[in-house]
């Protein structure tokens, strides 16, 4: 969403970067937010073709991959970018799906093979554990409407971030034990909060959570901080402020709304 009502929290779609103390990077999802990150990365080793970046995809719905064709580190020879994600539900392979995104009808890039950087696509199976430079990653599958997405628990420098976006639990008051386990004692829980609690009843079954779902998971898992995430395109800055206020009033867990371009020391 673009415009005056979306300036503070931001209007780009999903993308989160993690940086270890030693400078190793990890990106989760490639929404349009990745185009903003790309501008910064081009001023670093990625501009010189010496960048290394693993990217974890939660799933391949457009709002999580639409930054891919415009993520400039892909256009610099020498960069090594590794995309990891599960085989898309109801589709072909992960590589086939991303190839289809860059098919000549949709994109002049005309295929992954025309990206100058070295790009590898690794299909993972949720449940699998992944060792990446500087980060240890656990994965699970979580329900998202008629399909499922991959959630991640990422540990680096002894700190843990759990990413549970695009998730809707069948029973809001009893989130999946696997999700609670994934967020166990996490220093930061990033959770789908697409809907304000009072809007949720109309949108049940669409695959997204109301703000209070993140609270339930945070409280039961002992997560130390909760970031409300994946805001609805209809949620203006003021509406998000109100959701944060109402949510904070109901829990002892510190709650904030993820804002574009904000940095957080975990």
């Amino acid at each position: 969403m673009a415009g005056r009502d979306f300036l503070r929290y931001g209007g780009n779609t999903t993308s989160v970067e993690l940086v270890s103390r030693a400078g190793q990077r990890l990106l989760i999802d490639l929404g349009t937010g990745a185009t903003e990150l790309a501008k910064q990365l081009m001023g670093s080793e990625f501009g010189k073709g010496q960048g290394r970046l693993p990217i974890l995809l939660s799933h391949t719905h457009l709002d999580h991959i639409q930054g891919l064709p415009f993520f400039t580190p892909f256009f610099i020879k020498g960069n090594e970018i590794r995309i990891l994600g599960a085989k898309p539900v109801g589709g072909g392979s992960l590589e086939g799906t991303l190839q289809n995104q860059l098919a000549p009808h949709y994109s002049p890039l005309n295929g992954l093979e025309n990206l100058a950087a070295g790009v590898s696509i690794d299909e993972i199976t949720p449940g699998q554990r992944i060792a990446l430079p500087g980060f240890d990653v656990k994965t699970i599958a979580v329900p998202h409407g008629s399909m499922w997405t991959t959630a991640y628990r990422i540990t680096g420098d002894g700190k843990t971030v759990t990413y549970l976006s695009d998730v809707e639990y069948p029973d809001l008051d009893a989130p999946l034990p696997e999700a609670i386990e994934l967020a166990k004692d996490a220093d930061l829980l990033i959770h789908d909060a697409m809907h304000a609690d009072h809007d949720y009843d109309l949108r049940r079954g669409w695959g997204h959570s109301p703000a209070r779902a993140g609270v339930v998971v945070a409280e039961r898992s002992g997560a130390k901080k909760l970031a409300l995430f994946h805001h609805s395109p209809d949620a203006t800055d003021e509406m998000i402020d109100e959701v944060v206020q109402r949510t904070s009033a109901r829990t002892a867990v510190p709650v904030f709304a993820a804002a574009e371009g904000s940095y957080l020391e975990v």
Partner: protein
């Protein structure tokens, strides 16, 4: 007739403080006849807000016509978020260039494949029809008479001349100029040498464009690049305002609207571009306007200047 701009960007949407005045949504323009017929040109992210407005106006299921210039993401990614598509009984007719052997339905259906969007096209409540357009083959949609025009863009693209209520405008996006590069159906990593046939094709394409634009009141043109940017990326399939002015001058066009702005051009730079080309156009008798999200333009009759559909947006807003 009047037209309203719902998305003026190329490539990808750019929200944020740098784009509040000109807007950050991708390509989408709405045309309205005097008696209220609606025609949608391109379905970028601007389509979402247009759809929400149409929902507020509609009293029941409707029929909407959507002309697509081509199917690159920035021209179609609003479709899954077009709320009238979720109204049973509504019919949405999509008109586009059929390229290569693929069926348009497959291409549009591909956007809503399960990997990209939760609902497959067959499950969307509105009924979608697909119609092939061919350059030079004219047709009518409600009050509008439409002439598709071949353009120079990777994998093919068409512009449209649209006549209605005794007036005319044209939508010329996306296109490269017609000299240095010819776009076909393969990946270009840079300009390639032109064969004799290529040169003949480019001349013919340019002549046909100028002929079709002859005497058109208002031309909306892909002016993604500034000249220095074009010099670096001549193979990206976009034009500069100077190239658009040259075509409009030859076709005796009265008014040129700069459109499909590069995502990197923030509001302040857009102000400069607008001022520079307003002057350049005035010098040769062409009025040059720079499109912004929410701009409504009357087409035909005496020119009465742009209006703001969205009072929060527009080049003058937010400045002293």
């Amino acid at each position: 007739m009047q037209i309203t701009f719902w998305g003026v960007r190329g490539s990808y949407p750019v929200p944020g403080a740098a784009t509040v005045r000109y807007g950050g949504q991708t390509s989408c323009v709405e045309a309205r006849s005097a008696k209220g017929d609606c025609l949608i040109v391109d379905a970028g992210t601007g389509l979402r807000a247009l759809g929400n407005k149409l929902m507020r106006e509609a009293t029941g299921p409707q029929r909407y016509d959507v002309l697509l210039s081509h199917v690159h993401w920035d021209h179609i990614q609003g479709l899954p978020f077009f709320s009238p598509a979720y109204v049973p009984g509504t019919r949405i007719a999509v008109h586009a260039l059929l390229t290569a052997a693929d069926e348009l339905q497959q291409v549009i259906g591909g956007i809503t494949r399960h990997e990209f969007f939760p609902m497959p096209l067959e499950a969307v409540p509105a009924q979608f029809d697909f119609h092939q357009v061919e350059p030079g083959v004219e047709f009518d949609l409600s009050a509008f008479h439409i002439t598709p025009i071949a353009l120079n863009h990777p994998f093919g693209s068409v512009g449209y001349r649209i006549d209605c209520d005794g007036a005319s405008w044209a939508y010329i996006a996306d296109t490269a100029p017609f000299d240095q590069v010819i776009h076909k159906q393969h990946f270009l990593s840079g300009p390639e040498p032109l064969s004799a046939d290529d040169k003949v094709s480019l001349v013919a394409m340019r002549e046909a464009l100028v002929r079709r634009l002859d005497g058109v009141d208002t031309v909306v043109y892909d002016t993604h690049f500034l000249p220095e940017e074009y010099a670096r990326f001549p193979h990206y399939g976009h034009s500069t305002p100077d190239q658009a002015l040259e075509i409009c001058a030859e076709a005796k066009v009265r008014r040129l609207v700069l459109y499909h702005h590069a995502p990197s051009h923030g509001d302040d730079q857009m102000d400069q571009i607008a001022a520079t080309y307003l002057a350049a156009g005035a010098a040769i008798g062409i009025e040059v306007l720079t499109s912004f999200e929410g701009m409504t333009l009357p087409i035909g009759g005496e020119f009465s200047g742009p209006e703001r559909t969205n009072p929060g947006i527009g080049p003058g807003n937010g400045r002293a």
